[in-house]
Symmetry: C4
């Protein structure tokens, strides 16, 4: 099976800004992007389903299951256009990461995206004293305006690089001539962090020239934690390894 890009709606764009927020460290990027989708009343225009995602469906409030997926939502605020990439998962393999990132850039190219913001967390392993947002770019000319918006730059940070789609979009967008920025909220890393998300959101609002409330971020973070607590509980309810030999590769829920 190949990755499928389902266009749900035809919309015209001049040169939108693409914002990516998929699950990652502290779920900071996901919190911000999901929040933007809701606050900007963005409309879902694309669904991506892919064998590179886990083989899994999510069951919604109504008992209806849907494949895990990535989605692109579109919002127009005054004369500003935004495409927001959100989703349940990133890829399960390195090769899949590269493929999905390329595919997102194909879409970006098609819609004439002029700028990409990828959102993530920067884990430091302990409580964060001061709200802080670190940046990385794929072109040096992007740094100055970011600094003015309050983004921190430290040489060679993050030392471990940026892993996953937030990093790949920066690296691969160079080949397409699309400027791209990664904003990383400094976060403990070991918890879902609405505070880190707030920091990123504030900076992003300044950069995009938009304004949205931040109140619901805490609520959203709590909901995510509940989902994750459920997952944890279910995992404890799996067959112990010695009873699951014949399906050891995956923990089947259904």
């Amino acid at each position: 099976m190949k990755t499928i890009v389902k266009k749900l709606k035809d919309m015209e764009f001049k040169s939108p800004i693409l914002i990516e927020g998929l699950p990652g460290i502290g779920h900071v990027g996901k919190l911000v992007a999901d929040h933007l989708v809701e606050e900007l009343k963005a409309e879902k225009i694309i669904e991506i389903i892919s064998p590179h995602f886990p083989p899994q469906v999510i069951v919604g409030e109504d008992g209806v299951a849907r494949l895990v997926r990535n989605e692109i939502h579109a919002a127009k605020v005054d004369d500003k256009e935004f495409l927001i990439l959100v989703g349940d998962f990133q890829s399960t393999t390195p090769e899949g990461h590269y493929e999905i990132a390329e595919l997102v850039l194909d879409i970006a190219h098609e819609y004439n995206v002029k700028m990409i913001y990828t959102l993530g967390g920067y884990g430091i392993g302990h409580i964060v004293e001061k709200e802080e947002v670190m940046g990385a770019v794929n072109d040096p000319s992007l740094i100055e305006p970011l600094k003015e918006a309050g983004v921190e730059f430290r040489p060679n940070e993050p030392g471990g690089g940026i892993v996953g789609i937030s990093g790949l979009l920066l690296g691969l967008a160079v080949e397409r001539g699309i400027p791209a920025v990664c904003l990383m909220g400094v976060t403990p890393g070991y918890m879902i962090d609405p505070k880190g998300a707030k920091g990123v959101l504030k900076v992003l609002m300044r950069l995009l020239g938009i304004e949205v409330g931040t109140g619901k971020l805490d609520e959203r973070a709590k909901e995510m934690e509940k989902v994750i607590a459920k997952l944890r509980e279910m995992e404890r309810a799996q067959l112990p390894p010695e009873l699951s030999t014949r399906d050891e590769e995956l923990r089947y829920i259904g």
Copy 2:
């Protein structure tokens, strides 16, 4: 090597119901589906062998080895037609899961399947007090009749989604326009559970309008446990890691 679908027998169907029960949580789905194959005297019509399954043969009572595989058995009860998907394993990789699920849906499409039931367990990590069957669907209109048959629906449950083929068939069948339901027997999860299987079987009989005995489920569960105990024993008899460097990726039995 590509996945191979071997048609063993040509049979005509009007619009059969496909029932999936492959290994998973508590082996609930497998117990029910294997049971149905036997009780309905279903006939094997298709074998699926695939490099996405473990590289392994199963040795039968007679000492004859056969590749691990998935199988589709067909049964006709009065004017009702059933295709039952059973097997030794699910795929070993995410990509393989998607491929096998698509392939099963190709077969479903070819045979004009009008409805899919996937069967599984819902692990809760402790003893189950009350027989209970949870449901998920790929279309909201399917919920009401399920509730009437005693299936429980709780918002966002299972929280971890449904992993493996039971989930994927629901999610991917949407694209084919085939309604699909997942029935999950609530089960401790850490043991093979004939009680959970009985719950699912009862609900399924109500939904399908058929009747089969449930007596042999306990026996079947005991047999599965014996097989798994053997596996466990053999695993303890492997080369320790430091002596198996040159074949560390797999534990070879033969």
Copy 3:
């Protein structure tokens, strides 16, 4: 890169017997097959190199490195013809196992192989009191002559099936109409076992109607243990995980 089959020598065969002995439980199969290659003065006719094997070279006595590989050696004893499949490794992935097995069967088909013996160990996790060889077949008619040669058959044993190429060759040879037998020497499993190998060799000699000495098996096992001890030592000398982040997927020796 694709798997490469290098034919080193053209030889004519009427209908040879293929014997497989790659690394596995107790290295029983490898011990016997390597021994046969030497005792029968078999000639190497084919080398198989493949991206499904570990990315590694073996350094010989002379300091010359060669890719890890599988090899087919040919021997003629009176009017009997043997092809012996030996090698350093089995595949590193399930998909690779299926591909290599199919490729070996392509070769078997080309050379008109009339019978396949795959050799392995049957690990029981404790000292073996009595020399014993278990069997599995891909056709019931093969059992009787095996029993006469002293091979044991027990219903559903090995309970875990036969994993790796020894199993797959049996299962996939059915599709080609080639009869195939797996001989498994009962072995503790946690050590390289020349005693288990002797048992298999004796049975095999009876079945093939040939005679070779067994003396060198102990010596061969000791050599293998030395190699493995070296591997163990080198592994302990790797970068600790926290210093090897950038090459964590493999332990690089070179």
Copy 4:
């Protein structure tokens, strides 16, 4: 996405020597090759980006992110021509290793490379008393001149073979008729080792007939250690497993 070979500059070569030094045991090979690139003022002529590398960008001193990659740098010293293969990572899968090695050999073939040196470490698990460089070759005729340059050869060493690109280049270059040597600095293995690198560099200078300072090797090793310490710190700041279920395959930094 396919592996991409980006030619940055067209340069003419008669028959250069290819030197490989990617991350590995004690980072010995990487230390030496990076050092040579700087000391010989080599010019980057090729960049390789590949889905077989981790899905990751590296952030430089200036805050600019770039995809992880392999690079080939070219240097001319008098009438000598060198191509030096350096980079951030080796492949993440066995199949990827073979593909990248083949691709490097395609480039070697195109530039008429007459000789390959691959550089690595030989981990012994304890402090190294005496500077020592072990060798392996892909053709016996290469051994004598190496011995004269001080390279040690011991039968069947390294016992575990040579894993990764340093080994594969030797093994696969045979098929192309390119002589290749692997030089392994004896090293504790559990630390980044500038001393082991010095040993390799000295031998290599003798073999290549060039001279470069060794002073900066210690400095370079310290820098690498800092980067790795950062990585370690960031890893400790990740979501704990039970909070990262939905992105468990990778630890996302961005």
